[in-house]
């Protein structure tokens, strides 16, 4: 009896909270430090979508329209901050969802708290494989039956496949792998090695080298690649250190292609590498070229709202924008601000969501611990190869551009 009373009380309490007039959405990410271009672009892209939704009166939830209220948290790309923020968000009982995280280590430190409380999170734009594979079945431990964590980013599995494919297409046989010593870099290296095996062992890895966050002198690693006769460098790291690699490649006269994860499009890579960055290749989910009216509108709105000429990380901005649209569609379908209902709606989105990257048709399905793709939105066809050219990222292959234009029509 007592228990029932308590439950009734709690229920009353929570409905009262849910009856509030806003949908609470947390946005987390590194808004300062080396990862900041990704974090702030994601945040600003997401905010752009939110302000458009709010300007139109909000989302129809059941019978009334509700606006989105943003809760912002800077994780500084630090794992310990990520864990604290995860705990804090998990303790809010009226939170509808979380969008964000750039760094794989932060995701691993923070998401377990959200999963424990069943709070719906869309990881965006962290791409490290471990962010999702941590929930998948493993030999010694089965994954959770139910998962409230989704991802909206081209995960490293796809990206590594494209990087290896690019090297093989260029008829290269000897490559060096260089990566940073973080969770992201190490899991990227494993993905690359795995993909080389999967694609028929056509590439011979002649050197595997690593560097630390903050390192500026990459001569040792590059000379090893050079003396081993590498024909390309496959790389996994973040902006400032990647720029140091490009600059040192120029210094020691190592003129071979640099191909790596999407982070090679970060402004702090492109700007700090300058002309040494020209020709660098990386998978991209979005390229800042107004090839369709929808994309043009998004780019112009971003430039105008944040008074910039270039989006610091276009991929993050576009993904942040589309992630909010998908989240909003789930809220509308769930007719509720309850995070658990939103999760169920996300797993079975009925209506296609017209985003800036693509039109998302049923991006997620019910979680299956044997196949983490069920909670991954991006497939190979959503990703194109980008190339650095005079300070910005352009399509590396004209065919990709034409394909996207055609798709939009």
């Amino acid at each position: 009896m007592k228990k029932m009373l308590l439950a009734a009380l709690l229920l009353g309490f929570s409905t009262q909270l849910f009856a509030a007039d806003s949908i609470k959405l947390a946005i987390t990410g590194p808004f300062s430090g080396g990862s900041a271009p990704m974090g702030t672009s994601m945040r600003d892209g997401a905010k752009l979508a939110i302000s458009e939704i709010n300007a139109a009166g909000g989302i129809v939830v059941g019978k009334k329209k509700m606006k989105i209220e943003i809760i912002e948290r800077d994780d500084e790309a630090k794992n310990d901050r990520g864990a604290l923020i995860g705990q804090e968000l998990a303790s809010m009982d009226d939170l509808s969802g979380v969008i964000g995280s750039v760094n794989t280590g932060v995701v691993i430190a923070g998401d377990k708290h959200l999963q424990e409380k069943g709070i719906t999170k869309i990881i965006c734009p962290a791409a490290g494989s471990a962010s999702m594979t941590q929930w998948a079945d493993k030999a010694d431990k089965p994954g959770p039956k139910d998962l409230s964590i989704f991802r909206f980013a081209a995960h490293d599995g796809i990206q590594a496949a494209m990087v290896v494919e690019e090297a093989i297409n260029r008829k290269l046989t000897r490559v060096a792998i260089i990566h940073d010593a973080t969770n992201y870099g190490v899991s990227g290296r494993d993905d690359l090695l795995n993909q080389i095996k999967l694609q028929g062992n056509k590439l011979d890895v002649v050197a595997t080298e690593k560097f630390n966050i903050g390192d500026k002198d990459m001569t040792a690693q590059l000379l090893k690649a050079k003396t081993a006769g590498a024909q390309a460098i496959l790389i996994w790291g973040i902006g400032p250190e990647l720029a140091a690699v490009s600059n040192d490649m120029d210094k020691i006269g190592l003129k071979i292609p640099l191909i790596g994860g999407w982070t090679l499009s970060m402004s702090n890579y492109v700007d700090n590498a300058g002309k040494n960055g020209n020709g660098t290749l990386m998978p991209q989910t979005f390229i800042e070229e107004p090839i369709t009216p929808r994309i043009r509108a998004f780019i112009n709105a971003y430039h105008k709202a944040y008074k910039v000429e270039h989006i610091p990380s276009p991929v993050s901005a576009a993904q942040g924008y589309d992630a909010v649209l998908i989240f909003a569609a789930a809220v509308k379908q769930a007719k509720s601000t309850d995070t658990k209902h939103i999760k169920l709606a996300l797993e079975d989105l009925k209506e296609p969501v017209k985003g800036v990257i693509a039109t998302w048709v049923h991006p997620y399905s019910t979680w299956n611990p044997a196949d983490e793709q069920t909670h991954e939105a991006f497939r190979r066809e959503n990703v194109v190869m980008g190339m650095v050219k005079d300070g910005s990222v352009v399509f590396a292959n004209e065919a990709d551009k034409q394909r996207l234009i055609k798709q939009a029509k």
Partner: protein, 290 residues
Amino acid sequence: MDVILQMGVSGALMGLVYALIAYGFQLTFATSKSINFGQGELVMLSAFISLTLTNIGLPYWLMVPGGLLCGVLLGLVVERVAVRLALEQKSEGWILMTIIFGLFAFSAAENIWGRDDHPFPTPISSEPMHFFGISVTPVELSVAIGVLSVMGLIELFKRKTLWGKAFEAVAADRDAAELMGISAKRTIMLSYGLSGLVAAMAGILVSPITTVGPTMASALILKAFAVAVVAGLDSGFGVVLVGLFLGALESLASYYIGSGWREAPGLILLILALAMKPNGVFGKVSIRKV
């Protein structure tokens, strides 16, 4: 062979920056037997101030003296707020005080300039030049020239001018110097000012290579400290040799042992030096009269 040379030279040039910061430790240690544990933050603050000077439109040749002047002022501030009182009381309080000053400077920099790394513009080209099969950039060469010339000028100042001679006298024997009418207080201020100047020079020289950010000096300072201790805190130009050696050793270790082992040789060297030559390889054995 080319590889050894390339790695050695690249590393040694960075090693000169360690030497310059280590020299800053020496300057204050000579006069006051105290060192500024916030020296790294002085390097960082001066670099940020120089960057700001550049951003408001000062040309390079005006920005450098401006940055150096700020370095001197910062050095004097450290002496006034963190060191003087402790020395007057003959306590070791300056250790904690200079660390606190460093932490304060770090927070201030984060709040004023943010936590991001900024590129540092320089008119000196970073196009590599090739000598005997190795590549060196003019920026790296400017580091070498800058370090050696600033150290040379300060040594010249110490030997040839009246103020410099006062400096040497206080370093040799503070009490005797005071009896000769030399103000130890002023000399200590001078040494902190010079040490600030050296820190600012290090910041201006190294920033085009490392970029400017609040944490830019944290890795440098530990190595500079190792250089100062291994060479000896009163070794003068000894720091240059040890700096060159440590820089080259680091580079070669990361090539031959693996990039994860970069820092190891420096630390082993530090332990060996402390165990076998506690006054430093180039230090003078102190004779204490009882």
